[in-house]
């Protein structure tokens, strides 16, 4: 900003510099310093997150020759192969099933559960239940997966033992060893592991609702069920939206528990996108094909994230 009127009149050499010159000098001095603060983060992200992401797109249009060590451009051939791959579609279905079940249990179920817990009169019980439900989320998916591998084990597992105990011997089966039940058994374990995390977050969201809103609804003679739908649900909408995104995005990145419990078997029936990517990339060394699967994961997860951005932006405008 140096409008003619604001420039300082001519000064003698001994006079101090005009103010705007000082400011400009300070800004110039400050600028590289500012960069220095964010440089480490930007550098790490640039080299190890963004660059590989771009490279992945490049890889996905290549065919790798492991023995000769080179690669040739093949256009969309990897993607064409993907469309004709029944296991890819099976994996996509399994991820979608994961997403659907997790939405029901870990978002809507967890919201209802949190409301029930927060509705208890005893603070001590509220705290204890929140903590107990959360414990499976603190242990790793590896431990949880291995544990449920044994829970589902036909001979020594407690699931079949429980069924036998209540006289339902006909229902006992090799849960992880059959094509029809393997992925569902893994999904069930995942709900056990993850519901406490979202319940805890919803409990926090419910605690933030001003108590007088509940009190006012009670005075108006609104029952607990209607209060849940008229007060709790609308006032935790932001958390619900966020949990939907986190849950959906997570469902398409599942890897750990499937790997530990079934490795994608039996007969590829419990493959998910990331386990299939892993198998193609490190089992068959078909990097181009694995990169094409990765691109599908990229598009899905980014799409989900952008959808969230769009929705929150729109809502901000409404308010």
């Amino acid at each position: 900003m140096s409008a003619p009127l604001r420039t300082a009149p001519n000064r003698t050499a001994a006079a101090p510099l005009p103010l705007h010159a000082v400011e400009a000098a300070v800004r110039r001095r400050r600028r590289p310093r500012g960069w220095a603060w964010v440089a480490p983060a930007l550098l790490l992200l640039g080299v190890f997150v963004y660059l590989p992401l771009l490279q992945n797109l490049q890889y996905s249009v290549m065919k790798w020759d492991i023995y000769a060590g080179g690669s040739t451009f093949v256009g969309l051939a990897n993607y064409e192969k993907l469309v004709d791959d029944p296991v890819f579609w099976r994996a996509l279905f399994n991820n979608s099933a994961y997403a659907a079940v997790s939405l029901v249990c870990q978002v809507f179920g967890a919201l209802l559960l949190a409301a029930l817990v927060e509705g208890l009169r005893s603070e001590r019980w509220r705290r204890a239940l929140r903590a107990i439900y959360f414990v499976p989320s603190a242990i790793s998916l590896t431990v949880a997966g291995l544990l449920f591998y044994f829970v589902y084990e036909p001979e020594l597992g407690i699931l079949n033992a429980l069924l036998r105990g209540v006289g339902l011997d006909t229902l006992t089966q090799a849960w992880l060893g059959q094509e029809g039940t393997a992925i569902w058994a893994v999904i069930a374990m995942s709900q056990w592991q993850g519901f406490g995390y979202s319940t805890l977050l919803f409990a926090i969201a419910i605690q933030r609702i001003p108590q007088d809103l509940f009190d006012a609804a009670s005075l108006d003679g609104v029952g607990p069920i209607r209060r849940f739908f008229q007060v709790t649900v609308p006032l935790t909408r932001e958390m619900t939206g966020l949990m939907i995104i986190v849950t959906l995005s997570g469902a398409f990145q599942v890897f750990n528990e499937v790997m530990v419990m079934t490795s994608g078997g039996p007969n590829n029936s419990s493959q998910v996108l990331v386990t299939w990517l892993y198998r193609m990339g490190f089992g068959r060394n078909d990097f181009g094909y694995a990169a094409a699967i990765a691109t599908v994961i990229f598009v899905l997860t980014l799409g989900i994230a952008l959808l969230q951005l769009a929705i929150t932006r729109k809502r901000r405008v409404e308010w």
Binding site: R27, R30, R33, G34, W35, A36, W37, V38, A41, L42, L44, L45, G46, F48, V49, L51, P52, L53, Q55, N56, L116, G119, L129, A131, I132, Y133, F134, P136, I139, T142, V143, L146, L147, V151, L156, I158, A161, W192, G196, L200, L201, I204, R227, F228, E238, M239, L242, Q253, F255, N256, M259, V274, L277, Y278, G281, F287, A290, A291, F298, T301
Partner: protein
């Protein structure tokens, strides 16, 4: 929430309480079963699964410990401590720069750093493997350290930045008047004031690193350096018939994080709450 009086109210409340308790049992029992199985012999394990162990012996725990769990535990501790410290410091630096200094294209910089929140690590996996092979860092401790830090910066910066934005800038300016440089103001004034969010960030990062599987599996599978999650799956495949040893190993892996959670519950919940927006 249920404030109705009368018989119906009592019935409903009892039903809700029973349901919540039953759910707690469903959560706790498998974990209890895991701990108890670590004390059983193999023949006991294949007996009545609901039976208690006949004697409390630490034999299985000792076996698990000597067959690799001790070194898996050390690796996990090393990777977790170093990557958590590095992540939190680099993120706090970035948050300070973003909230307190003038950076050209600051909006773009912010978008780049927080944009990392939307990216799935699996997507970068194949190029990363080739990159680390080329750098000669494949199957080394450095691979995990670099990856954990790089992929955790977005979330951690997001947390700390949200907290720093709310701290009045006048405090730093007062420090600047006193002649303290930016770095001094950061170390001795802003960082101590951010303690609550730093503690939350540390806890969340410990939890993530301790349990991470995909990178750990791909980048350390060939070496002798393995974190607990990978080590446990090895224990399982190597000692497939001695299940009680595997249960003991699982318990050793699970106990530290469960303890951490219960000891730091207050900060933990606060961190989660801050992490998902106020």
């Amino acid at each position: 929430m249920v404030t109705r009086t009368g018989v119906l109210g009592v019935i409903v409340r009892t039903f809700v309480a029973s349901f919540l308790l039953a759910l707690a049992v469903v959560v706790i029992y498998p974990l209890l079963w895991m701990v108890l199985n670590g004390f059983k012999t193999n023949s006991e394990l294949f007996g009545n699964p609901f039976a208690l162990p006949l004697q409390v012996t630490w034999e299985n725990y000792a076996k698990a410990w000597n067959r690799g769990v001790s070194s898996y535990l050390m690796t996990s501790i090393l990777v977790t401590v170093t990557s958590t410290i590095a992540t939190v410091f680099i993120s706090a630096w970035a948050a300070y720069g973003l909230t307190r200094l003038q950076i050209p294209f600051s909006r773009t910089v912010l978008a780049l750093i927080l944009g990392g929140l939307m990216l799935a690590p699996a997507v970068a996996l194949i190029p990363l493997v080739r990159m680390f092979q080329a750098l000669g860092l494949y199957n080394t401790f450095w691979a995990l350290l670099i990856l954990y830090v790089a992929f955790r910066i977005p979330f951690t910066t997001f947390l700390i930045r949200a907290y720093m934005v709310d701290l009045p800038v006048e405090i730093d300016e007062a420090a600047a008047v006193d002649g303290a440089g930016k770095a001094r103001a950061f170390w001795s004034i802003v960082l101590p004031m951010c303690r609550p969010i730093l503690v939350s960030s540390v806890i969340l990062n410990i939890l993530f690193t301790w349990n991470e599987y995909l990178f750990a599996m791909v980048f350390t599978s060939g070496g002798d350096l393995q974190t607990l999650p990978i080590g446990l799956t090895n224990l399982m495949s190597k000692h497939g018939t001695e299940y009680p040893v595997v249960f003991a190993g699982m318990t050793i892996a699970a106990v530290p994080v469960i303890l951490l959670f219960f000891l730091t519950q207050k900060y933990f919940v606060k961190g989660l709450a801050d992490g998902v927006g106020k």
